[in-house]
Symmetry: C2
Subunit: 120 residues, 2 copies
DNA sequence: TTAATAATTAACTATATTGTTAATTAAATA
DNA sequence: TATTTAATTAACAATATAGTTAATTATTAA
């Protein structure tokens, strides 16, 4: 019974779910080019401000963005991308591809063994 | 207005949403070690057979698994992992990290320019 | 041919997500 | 001080997701 593991997977659950939303991925792309305020981000979309705000909250909760109050205007919150969740996702992908490779390797060796046996 | 793009992103939406479920990710890990029947996969979980069946359907719909009828027993469907959606995900991650790197590069150059100017 | 098995689909419930508008909080400006 | 402005939270509606048990389909085995 594998079921849900002990739960280092829970982070991945939330990171993947967060990134599954196209608006949030677009926000991430925008922030990849540099920090922006919530308002400036909102201007790039036809969504209401609360909608953007809640998308940003989701991204904050998984640690993919951080927010700091602007030093010039304390009403403004400036958002910035944080790499860690993306790193974890990349590592998971690499791990999975490693598992997959082992299987292909084993399969190749199996074929080799069979054709080798036949060749005798 | 960025909004949802033309929609090569729709594939990513569905791939990420599919992988956000821990049961489905576990299924993917199991299949990374080799093909298995729906029943054999189900034995690894404490979920009902219909639940597993629908998880497999989701994975089939995004092209992450394919199913073939067993040649020995036509009642059995054997599932196998397909790499393409994972490749697309990896490529998106790389693209994003590229965008991110440009920003860091630009920032580093900015710092260089400023400290260079100050050094004069 | 009847019963058992593998898998899926149907019907339903519970919960989560995403959007909206309205209200709230806090800071800047007239 | 009164009014904007930036952002968030509250309250609600619509839709999607994931689980269950029951029913269905197709194949194998008794």
């Amino acid at each position: 019974m594998a079921d849900q593991a002990l739960s280092p997977t829970a982070d991945l659950d939330r990171t993947l779910a967060a990134l599954a939303d196209p608006t949030r991925r677009q926000i991430v792309h925008l922030l990849a080019t540099g920090p922006r305020s919530a308002g400036a981000l909102g201007q790039e979309f036809t969504l209401s401000a609360p909608a953007i705000s809640r998308h940003l909250k989701v991204l904050r909760q998984i640690g993919l963005v951080s927010a700091v109050t602007d030093t010039q205007d304390n009403r403004v919150r400036v958002y910035q991308l944080q790499p860690q969740p993306l790193t974890e996702l990349a590592q998971w992908l690499e791990q999975l591809q490693g598992e997959w490779q082992e299987q292909l390797q084993a399969f190749a060796e199996h074929v080799e063994a069979v054709s080798g046996a036949r060749a005798q």
